[in-house]
């Protein structure tokens, strides 16, 4: 059976209003925005699934932007996004855990910096932040190490589902008329003064406007299509360790460090999947793909975690992973509208792109709309029905009737949800990675000691590369 890479499977259009290159968090949100505003949108993604680049591994925090660079595009996109997320949450069934964050000082030196951080938060309009004494914090989070000095409480920092969220954005775009093609790498393109023609691994596509959301490849796409790029991507890797479910009870808030000059530092937080996360490291590298973990760094994270949360000593590590973020030589996002060429570059969306995606989409739309008001919004917007939920704060399939039994016992993914994901009408999965992101299979403590055989069987005819 040939494996589809085109969603939905309808006829391609000869000419699109917009082609979006890259289906990361940012591309998904932009696809949604332009589709709902009435544009004919095509998304080209080189991976076998959406979220195959920088967006596949992050900390999944919905940021308030309390610590974002003041007056930056980043700060305004985060603030805008946060609000829009909250207003869309019910309609799109987006899971959210309102945990709050504690930014903690562990030395006197760090404690001295707290006032500056509070001031910045206030400047960024995050006004409900509050300085707390060590005693109050330890009362709230008794498992933290007692050498704590003081901290700041940021009540609105929250956790979201890093995969379902952008997936729903894309899903809504497709249900409202957008088209997505995966396994489709853009290699070149020409602008004739009116329209673009892009060359890809699946043929040529035409559109009026091109939006580059290629994440880690943003500068290369600019160079190929525009001939130059205003920035250079400096990939930065972050490694994480994930502790198993029982560790999840040890803390409730997101535990942030006082940032240093080069990075935001190592945080500890629950995940919306019921685990506990420690990370990320911050390692600059040349390679845009190399998401390898290293024993030394994982051990460093383990040590750091145990230092701040001593009870972690007896908890077991479930998984480790690394994410790569598209940093550039600049601090702020690199969003550039080349109006003479009908081209927008949306790049350098470093460490906050999951949160800021909706805001970025609004920002890009406004930039285009400022020039000329070309699209008229859809009369009726379709909101996807509740999709399968993999977050622990939602009702999951194993709790429902007719689930056909659990396939992955560690993560409690059921046979029905696996089959549903394989046969989805709009975005069926065609790789193990995609299946993990939709159902959590194989991501648990046994790392498929129990379920791999059954999974190999169920998925046999569905994957490009069988298990």
């Amino acid at each position: 059976m040939p494996i589809t890479t085109q969603y939905p499977k309808k006829q391609k259009t000869a000419h699109y209003d917009i082609i979006i290159i890259g289906a990361g968090s940012v591309g998904c949100a932009i696809a949604r925005k332009f589709t709902l505003e009435g544009a004919q949108v095509l998304i080209l993604e080189k991976g076998t699934d959406i979220l195959d680049g920088a967006s596949k591994g992050n900390s999944a925090i919905l940021h308030t932007g309390f610590d974002a660079p003041p007056d930056s595009i980043e700060q305004s996109c985060i603030a805008d996004s946060y609000q829009e997320f909250m207003s869309l949450r019910d309609k799109l069934h987006l899971p959210l855990m309102k945990t709050g964050a504690l930014l903690l000082a562990w030395t006197e030196d760090e404690a001295d910096q707290l006032d500056g951080i509070l001031k910045k938060a206030q400047y960024n309009n995050v006004n409900d932040t509050q300085r707390l004494s060590a005693k109050v914090i330890l009362n709230k989070e008794p498992q933290l190490a007692s050498h704590l000095k003081a901290g700041i409480y940021i009540p609105k920092e929250s956790l979201i589902d890093p995969w379902t969220t952008p997936f729903v954005y894309m899903y809504q775009a497709i249900e409202n008329g957008a088209q997505l093609i995966c396994c489709c790498e853009v290699s070149n393109g020409q602008f004739d003064g009116e329209k673009w023609q892009l060359e890809t691994s699946q043929g040529k596509f035409k559109a009026t406007t091109v939006i580059n959301c290629a994440g880690l490849y943003g500068d290369l796409i600019d160079q190929q299509l525009l001939g130059w790029s205003a920035f250079q991507i400096n990939p930065r890797k972050g490694q994480f360790i994930v502790y198993d479910t029982p560790a999840n009870r040890l803390i409730h808030s997101i535990i942030l460090p006082v940032p240093n000059k080069t990075s935001k530092g190592v945080l500890i937080c629950q995940t919306i999947f019921g685990k506990l996360l420690v990370g990320p490291s911050a390692e600059d590298q040349d390679d845009r793909e190399d998401a390898s973990v290293t024993t030394e760094t994982l051990q460093m994270l383990q040590k750091k975690g145990e230092e701040l949360l001593p009870a972690l000593v007896n908890e077991s590590i479930n998984a480790s992973y690394a994410g790569i973020c598209p940093a550039t030589q600049f601090k702020d996002y690199q969003i550039h509208y080349h109006n003479k060429k009908n081209y927008v570059s949306v790049s350098g969306i470093r460490s906050t792109g999951l949160t800021a995606a909706l805001g970025i989409a609004n920002y890009v739309f406004l930039q285009l709309q400022k020039e000329k008001s070309i699209y008229s919004p859809l009369d009726t917007i379709i909101y996807p029905k509740r999709l399968n939920q993999i977050a622990e704060c939602e009702t999951r399939d194993w709790q429902k009737e007719g689930n056909q039994g659990i396939v992955c016992h560690c993560e409690r993914a059921t046979e029905r949800e696996v089959v549903t994901a394989l046969e989805d009408a709009h975005l069926p999965v065609n790789s193990l990675d995609a299946l993990k992101r939709r159902t959590r299979v194989t991501m648990g403590r046994c790392q498929s000691f129990y379920c791999s055989a059954r999974l190999a069987e169920i998925t046999e005819t569905y994957f490009k590369r069988p298990i």
Binding site: V242, T245, S448, A453
Partner: protein, 435 residues
């Protein structure tokens, strides 16, 4: 398929979690003793536990006086259980255990509750996968545990790679070697971090026969390859080089990695519930009767002592069933005073039982049935010396040992202190002196 599946009832006398050899043995024994409703809850679609994944022998010598392969053995065990009146509920996963022997289950028809008089936990073990070992590298396809390998090969008849490297030399590592051989896979090497294999009985002869080299004093450092495994980087601690602690790095081309052994108890159910677990191993804390910290719960089989053979677990399952029966009839001493055993040496991996219940009769017997009469101890590296159990300055029992890791060490229970007249406040110490 779901039509064949029996829905768990709302109540029963004894609920058993897990239909492996220990759970099925316990269930069958309870029926033989005359207990009315015995329910086995199994999350898989078939009963039998780990042996179901093993086409190889030896299984069944102790139980059936016959040599079976794993699959046949598993069938035989379930058959016997069903014949004796045990009800096995498949695709029924226990997701929470609560006080009062109340179990929460996930079944194909949704969530259910089962209230039992007593519960036996027999959830077995799993191997330590790559993540837990903090190995460097990317995440290509073709990295498996031996459990996963065996089920892929035997249950689903697939061949995940051609020339993998095997990490570890436990019994199960050689069993993976057999599975590879069966599927026409030729491993390129086995890596062992110590200077001799962990398994006993000279099974390394298998490696010799199949022409697979064993690299001693060698650790896996890094897995190379993005989509598929291309090679592994290994560290060889070469003492012959004279330079102190210098490690040689070497790259071995291969297309898969099999992580074998380093078994741990499948005990997250316990960790998330109210029962005490040994914090460093995750093994349930039990007394000499197999009772957990809540006396409505018992634990048996591999989860109490990673890892033993199926026959051993089967026997232990029966013994535990006898204690459960005694406790149903009120013949087991009620749970009052318990002494904890604390190990004072870092070489001790675990000791089981971790607590001793002081009994009115003053010995380790209760009712008509014999409980565990020995401690089972494991060390985490090769050691020579003397193990002893002490109460303050007084040595109660002792034994000379010369042991490798993963080997069972038995040490007699100190009967003299088991009387309920004794003081339970001072824990006993497990001591090790090297020689």
């Amino acid at each position: 398929m779901n039509k064949d599946i029996i829905q768990p009832p709302e109540q029963c006398n004894v609920a058993i979690i897990g239909a492996g050899p220990s759970g099925l043995a316990a269930a069958t024994e309870l029926k033989k003793l005359g207990v009315e409703s015995v329910i086995v809850l199994e999350r898989e679609a078939q009963a039998g536990g780990i042996p179901r994944h093993c086409t190889h022998s030896p299984f069944g010598l102790r139980e059936f006086k016959r040599l079976y392969n794993g699959e046949r053995y598993a069938d035989e065990l379930s058959h016997q259980a069903i014949k004796s009146g045990v009800i096995i509920c498949l695709k029924s996963s226990v997701i929470a255990i609560n006080k009062g022997a109340i179990l929460e289950l996930s079944t194909p028809t949704g969530i259910r509750t089962l209230i039992a008089q007593k519960v036996i936990i027999c959830t077995g073990i799993r191997e330590t996968p790559r993540a837990n070992r903090l190995i460097s590298g990317q995440r290509p396809m073709g990295i498996l545990t031996s459990g996963a390998l065996q089920s892929i090969i035997h249950l689903k008849h697939k061949k995940p790679f051609q020339r993998p490297v095997i990490i570890g030399t436990e019994l199960v590592s050689f069993s993976s070697l057999l599975s590879c051989r069966y599927a026409g896979i030729k491993p390129i090497a086995m890596l062992e971090k110590n200077s001799r294999i962990t398994a006993k009985w000279g099974v390394q002869i298998l490696a010799k026969i199949f022409d697979v080299p064993i690299f001693y004093k060698t650790c896996l450092h890094n897995i190379i390859g993005k989509k598929e495994v291309e090679a592994v980087e290994i560290n060889i601690k070469c003492s012959a080089l004279k330079k102190k602690k210098e490690r040689i790095k070497k790259v071995l081309p291969c297309d898969g990695v099999i992580f074998t052994g380093e078994f741990v108890a499948e005990s997250s159910l316990l960790r998330m519930g109210h029962l005490d677990v040994d914090p460093s191993t995750g093994n349930p804390v039990i007394d000499q009767f197999g009772r957990c910290s809540d006396s409505d719960y018992f634990a048996t089989g591999n989860m109490t002592h990673p890892v033993e053979t199926a026959g051993y677990c089967w026997k232990q399952g029966r013994q535990t069933a006898q204690q459960v029966y005694a406790s149903l009839k009120g013949e087991l001493d009620p749970y009052q005073k318990r002494i904890h055993i604390i190990s004072t040496s870092p070489i001790i991996k675990y000791i089981v039982p971790q607590v001793l219940a002081l009994t009115v009769k003053g010995d380790y017997q209760s009712g008509k049935h014999i409980a565990m009469d020995c401690f089972q101890i494991r060390v985490n590296k090769a050691v020579k010396g003397r193990l002893s159990i002490r109460s303050g300055a007084k040595t109660l029992v002792q034994k000379k040992i010369n042991s490798l890791p993963e080997r069972r060490i038995n040490l007699k229970l100190p009967c003299s202190i088991l009387s309920a007249k004794n003081d339970a406040d001072i824990p006993l110490q497990l001591h090790f002196e090297s020689r």
